[in-house]
Symmetry: none
Subunit: 414 residues, 2 copies
Amino acid sequence: MRRAAIINIGDEILLGQIVNTNASWMAESLSEIGVQVVSHQVVADDAEAIRSALDLAQKQASLILLTGGLGPTKDDITKKVLVDYCGGEMELDTSLYERLQMYFRKLGREATEAHRLQCYMPTEAEQLNNKMGTAPGMFFQQGKNWIISLPGVPYEMKYLMTEEVLPRLQKERVGQHLKRVTLLTVGRGESQIAEYIEDLEDALPDHIKLAYLPHLARVRLRLTATGESPDTLTKELDYWREALSERLGDLVYGYDQTELSEVIQAEMLKRKLTLATAESCTGGNVAREITSNPGSSGYFVGGLIPYSNEMKQQILEVPKDVLQQYGAVSEQTVRAMVKGTLKRLGADIAIATSGIAGPGGGTAEKPVGTVWIACGNADHTIVKRLQLNKNRKLNIEYSTIWTLNLIRRFLMAL
Amino acid sequence: MRRAAIINIGDEILLGQIVNTNASWMAESLSEIGVQVVSHQVVADDAEAIRSALDLAQKQASLILLTGGLGPTKDDITKKVLVDYCGGEMELDTSLYERLQMYFRKLGREATEAHRLQCYMPTEAEQLNNKMGTAPGMFFQQGKNWIISLPGVPYEMKYLMTEEVLPRLQKERVGQHLKRVTLLTVGRGESQIAEYIEDLEDALPDHIKLAYLPHLARVRLRLTATGESPDTLTKELDYWREALSERLGDLVYGYDQTELSEVIQAEMLKRKLTLATAESCTGGNVAREITSNPGSSGYFVGGLIPYSNEMKQQILEVPKDVLQQYGAVSEQTVRAMVKGTLKRLGADIAIATSGIAGPGGGTAEKPVGTVWIACGNADHTIVKRLQLNKNRKLNIEYSTIWTLNLIRRFLMAL
């Protein structure tokens, strides 16, 4: 199995003006066919920088993929560095030049001198025919090592990866395979999960690795297995996924790419139930998550965002004395909000959120970050109190995830 | 001026499961204060890989920024590599451990053994206090060189960059100055704006550069001036900002980091007006934008998300025959929604959105991406029809921006 190093050449990525989606796309495509990616590097359109990047990559990998630094403008020097690096020389490729002239004639334009210069190609490289643009890819073979240069324009790079690079890699592969599965958990932190599964993690065979990927009240657990038999790997991963899922119980909400709101949608549609929302502190963010999925109108009736106490009283019928006695941020208020929402919007299930998102508005008794959430139906309501921190945007994000999780747990207990 | 190398540690980025937004954010922030970024590297959570990345970075840069590889689980090895690399040893930081214990006690949980191990810190590093998470940043000084290790969680990294790293860099700079101003526009594309300001752009002096940064119905125009006198640069930038603003008129909604929702909030509070929302296709996203700002409860009364036609009729009093004759996605319906919202929520101004977000649900007459938005008060209502594309998430984002811009324009015309 080859190990791959990716080098992206270009000032725009380097200076952060664009995000490096080329690297992630390439890495994902390579991982999918079992090629292990060991590094990405982003460097300037500069001979010395490209050379250093190649030096490091050669130590790590037998497949080096470069993008960018090709094309008609004068800051493109990749080709010269590659010729210095791989041997051979530059030669005008007349048939390439003719194709380019024809291409421009079809567009009603003329190829420029810069385009002619672009047709000087390294004699040691096999050209990769780029049907999406004017600069061909280049394939250098150095003993067993491959150095492949691709254009930086994403759809040109993707075309050449898909049509030329990935098929060559698949053709030569023998033996090693790689399989992956990810468990999605919500409700506990990385370290607590690590404690729950410590013995299982220690018992994992050497060829199966576990990684913790935490993000906003959720932790993804990724199992990666490498070996010779894809069937055995699949069976082994099934076994460990089951073992971990059993241990973690209802902390696991799904596998691989599933969103919490998708889990809720599937469950609601299956049970033919409808949902309505009443969001104070989350300000519409729970509804936004729910309605981001196609098909959500199949179960989501609608929502209310009762930001003012007047709206809580008038539309949601939260009793005035509940608001006065317990305050808007209280268990009693979110319970009343659930009740009012069920009644007003005629849904089977309703949620409510109320909290002090911050940065201002806290008191000694109810500091910034105090949030109450509730989920209920005509029969019963479950509530949860969160104590978050002072960052408004994060408090809204966390409260949203916890609310979605409360709906999930409510559905599981039905 | 320092040259910087960025090293992002983590399998998720390396394998292409997430896009490396940390690198682009860091690179942009560093470039903005005049630090030249010379490379990004992405490597695995592996001692040898981190060491090689450091070796290369040290050859290129006097500032090395690492992200990731910190945290309580055992796959984190960055600290050990840095101690090997920079000298010193690991020691339990008891005050850090006490803070962490307190932090968890507040959350009603206990710090785990993994958290205690996380509090072993390199003796040679100055700690950077991470108020957003449990893992502090580390600042190593190696002669004139700086090696800084930050958490990989984006908001923790951003917090430490903003509060600790960028101020230190700004403090040590001498000589060459760099000033920047960004004009924020909404409503026209990059090429149209380029046409409007072509002569001004051509007249810019060599030491002032203009960059177009388009994003979701908005284009930011960033002017960057370099020179020896900060006062002169400020005066020059003021002049060009004024010239561009005058030319672009009400396309400009603000400068630098301002959000559209902040512009609306300032204007509403100044005029002592209140706002309410009724969102069908945007599903709460407009309210979410509005309530993401502290102080929004000073003018935002609340919102409705009438996803079903029943809710449009019952709560918003959209006449049944309007829905039947023109459909939910129509000028008549969003006008009726504005009217109903003003009445139900008692606000001075209301907005309404209704559209086919997709990917399904389109017809020949109203294809996917058809969206109607409206903004009005007791006297009059303005409406706009958008024809977007088939991507649900983008359609929601675009509709939200256009709705916020409609509120801004409504306020400007009052």
